[in-house]
């Protein structure tokens, strides 16, 4: 029996979400009194793999196959399911990011496993297996019981946190047989903005809404984000109007994020907006309207004009840094 966790890497490097996954699954394996097996796919150095041992990974299976450097959900699901079977996994876990969303359901079908997406904490019970998750876009929690012998979970980012737990680590290199017909997706182009803070990974997010009044007014938002090393985000009307790119849209129909700090400038706090940000650790709202619903979900509020408050804040953060 075992818990199998797939720790994704990005061009051979792990991120905090990978360490969080290891921290979570280590604790879970202990709770279930079983072993943890971490799976890594694609080219990666031993040194990088060893970083996972800081968080309790004592056994890693590395599928160090250059053909798998580009993530194809079909291939990855095949590899993970094969390993899960070989290791008699009772539970397979991966991070709830774009790739986890694409791979985990496939693994669940291959293993005839019940699956729950975006869990935030350890199961409330193991027998029966019950996990808690947000439902109705954050309006409620639900407790989901998984009745199958094998289960698949994805772990919401930035909820469980990192737990240091240094151990000795064994790394096995594995070369599973994969049907080469599955490698058939053809990427014809890729654009990526380098050096940009990725919104879904960011610890800190500065977000702005229709209260900015014009796309020409975004400089103070960007300046505050620069000082904080934050990603920028926006409300839906802002991206619908084309003031900012769709990539920045957070909320029920956009991205769901959980940064440590979310600063909402000129955002009213409609229920659909809050659905995307309610898991933030700390919310700061800046709004001229003291009745704006955003203040009922915020931890700190400033009543004032964004064009006036944002530059002051930037200045205050800059001062505190120096």
């Amino acid at each position: 029996m075992s818990v199998v966790a797939f720790a994704k890497n990005w061009n051979g490097k792990f991120k905090n979400s990978s360490y969080e996954l290891v921290s979570y699954t280590k604790e879970l394996a202990n709770q279930m009194q079983t072993n943890l097996v971490i799976v890594s796919i694609g080219k990666i150095t031993e040194e990088e793999l060893n970083k996972l041992s800081q968080y309790g990974a004592d056994r890693i299976i590395s599928v160090n196959d250059a053909r798998m450097n580009v993530l194809t959900s079909r291939v990855y699901a095949e590899v993970i399911a094969q390993i899960a079977k070989k290791e008699s996994a009772e539970l397979v876990v991966m991070t709830d990011n774009n790739s986890g969303k694409a791979i985990a359901p496939r693994v669940a079908v291959k293993l005839k496993a019940g699956m729950v997406a975006a869990v935030q904490e350890l199961p409330v019970s193991i027998k029966p297996f019950v996990v808690k998750k947000q439902m109705f876009s954050g309006k409620t929690f639900g407790y989901v019981q998984i009745n199958s012998a094998i289960r698949v979970l994805t772990l919401a980012k930035n909820c469980f946190g990192l737990v240091e737990n240094p151990v000795e680590c064994n790394i096995d290199i594995s070369h599973p047989e994969v049907n080469t017909g599955l490698f058939k997706i053809q990427i014809i182009s890729e654009e990526e903005q380098k050096n940009k803070v990725i919104l879904t990974d960011a610890d800190c997010v500065v977000s702005a809404g229709r209260g900015m009044r014009s796309p020409d007014n975004w400089r103070p938002v960007e300046e505050l984000a620069e000082v904080l090393g934050a990603a920028t985000a926006c409300s839906r009307p802002v991206s619908d109007e084309g003031w900012r790119s769709h990539e920045e849209h957070v909320g029920q129909t956009g991205k769901v994020i959980a940064p440590n700090l979310y600063i909402a400038a000129g955002i009213s706090g409609a229920i659909q907006h809050v659905a995307g940000i309610s898991r933030s650790k700390c919310i700061v709202a800046i709004n001229t309207d003291p009745e704006a619903p955003i203040f009922s979900v915020a931890d700190y509020g400033i009543i004032g004009d964004v064009m006036d408050v944002l530059p002051r804040l930037t200045e205050a953060f800059r001062k505190s840094k120096s």
């Binding site: 774009n98 053809q186 229920i271 931890d299 804040l313």
Partner: protein, 248 residues
Amino acid sequence: MKILVCISNVPDTTTKVKFKEDNTLLDDSGIQWIINPWDELALTRALELKEDAGNSVNEVCVINVGGSLTEATLRKALAIGADKAIRIDACPSDAYHVAGQIAEYLKENVYDLIFSGIESSDYNGSSVGAMLAEFMNYSGISSVTNVNLDDDIVVSRAIPGGKQMIKTETPFVAIVQKGIAKEPRIPSMRGIMMARKKPLEVIPAAELPVLTQTVKFELPQAKGTCKMIDPEHVEQLVELLKNEAKVL
């Protein structure tokens, strides 16, 4: 070419959700049901593809796994412009079950392109599309923001901090998110009249296991009060974020 759009029937996004029977069941009294927002965008894109004469799309069908209550939502999809609707008569209790039911239908009825939304706004499972692709052994492309059916089939997808274009072949499942269509279409008066005559076929459910069940709901605790900061003294906020909230 035939397109199938998976439709989830969900409470309107502004619904205040309530529960009954000791918080074990959703209280559906007074709920306004809608097409899941992403599915509505997917349907819109499917119709645009059909209307573009250069494409050979000759059918857009919508499919839902659900009880008879969901027929109003399917009728709305017909009114927006779908050619026909299928309802598989089963309780949509978990993603595995829903995807399995749709796969059973697809095995008998061939479609070239299947659209599914990135998630359903009720149980937020985000797995039906990828499970369906796996049941069918099809390619599945996630985070899809555009589908073009010109000489080649080219799909755009969002990747962190950028965008990727992929060439693919049918059949495949496109798991779509925002951007796939600009705005959802709303039914016209004529569309609503025509929808009454369009086929809505009800088919019995296949025998499939239900692997997960929601046993209880819990409403989140109300958040504590919001501390107000004087806009003339924002340095206090910096201080609080550092020493009280400890997020800096």
